[in-house]
């Protein structure tokens, strides 16, 4: 029961993008799954079942999912290097749900075999490099992957996302500048959520419209409502297509808000204005997508509920599988410092 595709035009500079009902439901499913994973993980953290700290991207699911869905998945697909708020990007780009829980738990089945935690997830099979804690470091790496594709004449793109605070770091500037000069197929996604830990964006930069920074490097840039999954998807699809077709690097700013602390241990109530938080709560990306699906696209509530149920089931099974998984052998700590082969 597919209705005619809707053309989404987010910015006059970019071509409009078709979003069919099936694709719209896909976007909804991935956002729902993302939130279900994070809610479950947060509970596990509070129950003391996850070592370390816990970081969520609640309220930023539209960006995480909208970035990843236009990309080609798999080892020979597009490079995707998401930041700490974008759990949904990992899911869409192919990482199995149970391995994400195993990662949080430090189990053997984690993508790092217990050697790294939280969303420091990666693997060649998904063409996802493993992010590091140092802000903006993954930007030059993403430029390098894009350069490799260009050198070999492959029609692949490299995409990375980062927060507003990362734009203060040198690697942001060095990476964007090199990408522009070398004209590589890289797409940069700045998630402007207003906060770097406890520091508001006004203390981070004088240029709070982050897409304007791209102009300094001669990179085409757009800014979209990061809580509108259709807008994010359309902006990314158009930008990725442009990069893939030889248009050089592209920049997308997604405006959103961090719906809580930097991490689960952060007492954000002491510095975040509660009235602004409440305002953004009304702009919740999942609620907004539901309204569009129900009212504009006339999808039934029953169909949405079946999607939510599917997500809950997947999470339940994934947590069971991760809990059943063992911890790595202590010997694992000694292994893998050097590679025996690059292939």
């Amino acid at each position: 029961m597919t209705s005619p595709a809707r053309k989404i035009s987010v910015v006059p500079d970019l071509p409009s993008v078709e979003v069919s009902d099936d694709l719209a439901l896909d976007l909804y499913y991935w956002m729902t799954l993302t939130r279900a994973v994070e809610e479950r993980a947060l509970n596990l953290y509070r129950q003391g079942k996850l070592p370390g700290s816990y970081y969520t991207g609640r309220g930023q699911e539209a960006i995480a999912v909208g970035i990843a869905l236009p990309l080609v998945r798999g080892e020979d697909g597009d490079w995707l290097s998401p930041w700490i708020r974008d759990l949904g990007s990992y899911l869409v780009h192919g990482v199995p749900v149970w391995r994400i829980f195993a990662q949080f738990m430090g189990k053997a089945g984690s993508t790092t075999r217990g050697k790294d935690g939280n969303l420091h997830i990666g693997g060649r099979e998904w063409n996802i490099p493993c992010q590091v804690s140092h802000m903006a470091d993954m930007i030059p790496l993403t430029v390098g992957a894009a350069l490799a594709y260009k050198q070999r004449g492959e029609k692949r793109v490299a995409v990375t996302s980062f927060g507003d605070a990362a734009t203060s770091r040198g690697d942001f500037h060095e990476g964007l500048n090199i990408a522009a000069v070398l004209e590589v197929p890289a797409v940069f996604v700045a998630e402007n959520n207003g906060w770097g830990y406890s520091t508001p964006i006004s203390k981070q930069t004088k240029v709070t419209d982050l897409h304007r920074k791209a102009a300094a490097y001669g990179i085409p840039a757009v800014s979209v409502d990061g809580n509108d999954v259709f807008a994010v998807y359309a902006a990314l699809k158009a930008s990725v297509d442009a990069a893939r077709e030889g248009g050089g690097p592209q920049f997308v700013e997604c405006k959103t808000y961090r719906m809580g602390g930097h991490a689960a241990h952060d007492k954000y109530e002491s510095y975040m204005p509660m009235e602004v938080l409440a305002e953004w709560s009304d702009k919740d990306p999942i609620k907004r997508a539901e309204a569009i699906l129900l009212e504009e696209r006339e999808i039934t509530e029953a169909r949405l509920e079946s999607i939510r149920e599917r997500a809950r089931d997947e999470v339940r099974q994934a947590v069971e599988q991760a809990e059943d998984d063992g911890y790595p052998d202590a010997a694992e700590a000694h292994q893998g410092v050097f590679a025996e082969t690059a292939d």
């Binding site: 993508t111 790092t112 420091h120 493993c130 930007i139 790496l141 390098g144 690697d171 590679a339 690059a342």
Partner: protein, 326 residues
């Protein structure tokens, strides 16, 4: 067989690897049309084009990060730091991303960062640094320090072929002073990483050294030979992996160990070698383990100060005589 300088040997190794493997490419400041500040990448852009010989903006962290990403995406980048000193800007990328990627997710990062290293050329505090010890402490990086033209060629080829990130410390003082008949192309010799070279055999004491101080140690060995002391000189070639067996075999034979490097003393690589020798060859030692290195200051500019900073042939000779007489 052509006689090549150490610098020409590096250039030849780059040409030969570029020729053998289309994934290999060079990037860095002025490496393309100009062929690099020293000429190490001369002729490469003319032969292989701008996509495989990339003139980058002045952005060392960016250069290193781009190399890491390209390596992960299947290429074999050789990044040049115009001077080894500037790798301080790229340190985070190398240590944070390159060195830990394989350990975390088993995804290899086959890349080389070439660092023109060392003093003796009037470069002052920002063009003379020896950077090997900066990286030695961190797991996940190979560190290569050639002393001869032969090794500059063979070790660079091995470094480019290695599946890991390699910090290649090529010594600027040796660029035009070290020469040898270096076979290249199909006859080129690859020197495996992790195998030390006994540059001179001897029986009374062992000098364990690498890079620029190998030639000084060889001269000292000549002088002491005439005085009736037989010196063995072990050229480590690579600090990581370290050929512990070669070090211990030499020290167990001579019973006396002296470590010499141009880098400054404190926290230098010599401390690690001294600890290994003390722990694993203690019962063979006839004298305390000795170190000769630069003084613990920044590297000063003017010749009289730079000479005071650097370990000289006289410094090594004096220390070796004392050790021989112990």
């Amino acid at each position: 067989m052509p006689e090549l300088t150490y610098l020409e040997a590096i250039n030849a190794a780059l040409h030969d690897e570029m020729d053998a493997d289309p994934r290999v490419f060079c990037l860095g400041e002025d490496v393309g049309r100009q062929g690099g500040a020293f000429g190490a990448t001369k002729g490469i852009q003319q032969k292989y084009g701008e996509l495989r010989s990339i003139d980058t903006p002045v952005a060392e962290a960016g250069i290193a990060g781009v190399a890491i990403g390209a390596a992960m995406a299947g290429q074999r980048p050789v990044a040049e730091m115009q001077f080894g000193d500037f790798v301080s800007i790229a340190f985070d990328q190398i240590v944070t991303c390159a060195a830990k990627m394989h350990y975390r997710i088993g995804w290899a990062v086959p890349m080389v960062v070439r660092c023109p290293n060392g003093g003796g050329v009037g470069g002052g505090p920002y063009h003379s640094e020896n950077v090997e010890a900066w990286f030695h402490h961190h797991a996940g990086l190979k560190i290569v320090c050639p002393a001869t033209a032969d090794d500059a060629y063979g070790l660079l080829r091995a470094s480019i072929q290695d599946p890991n990130p390699v910090v290649f410390c090529e010594h600027k003082f040796l660029y035009r002073r070290e020469k040898a008949d270096v076979p290249t192309g199909a006859d080129g010799r690859i020197v495996p990483l992790g195998k030390a070279r006994v540059a001179r055999t001897g029986s009374d004491l062992s000098i364990i050294t690498y890079a620029s101080t190998v030639r000084l140690s060889m001269a000292v060995a000549d002088t002491l030979e005439a005085e009736g002391t037989s010196v063995e000189v072990v050229d480590l070639r690579t600090l990581v992996p370290l050929d512990r067996e070669a070090v211990l075999a030499s020290v167990k034979k001579t019973g006396k160990a002296m470590i010499v490097h141009e880098d400054n003393l404190t926290g230098g690589f010599g401390a690690e070698v001294a600890a290994i020798v003390a722990q694993e060859a203690f019962e063979y030692l006839d004298a305390p383990v000795t170190r000769v290195a630069a003084i613990d200051t920044p590297i000063p500019f003017t010749p009289v100060l730079e000479r005071e900073y650097l370990p000289t042939e006289e410094d090594i000779l004096r220390a070796a005589r004392e050790l021989a007489a112990y």
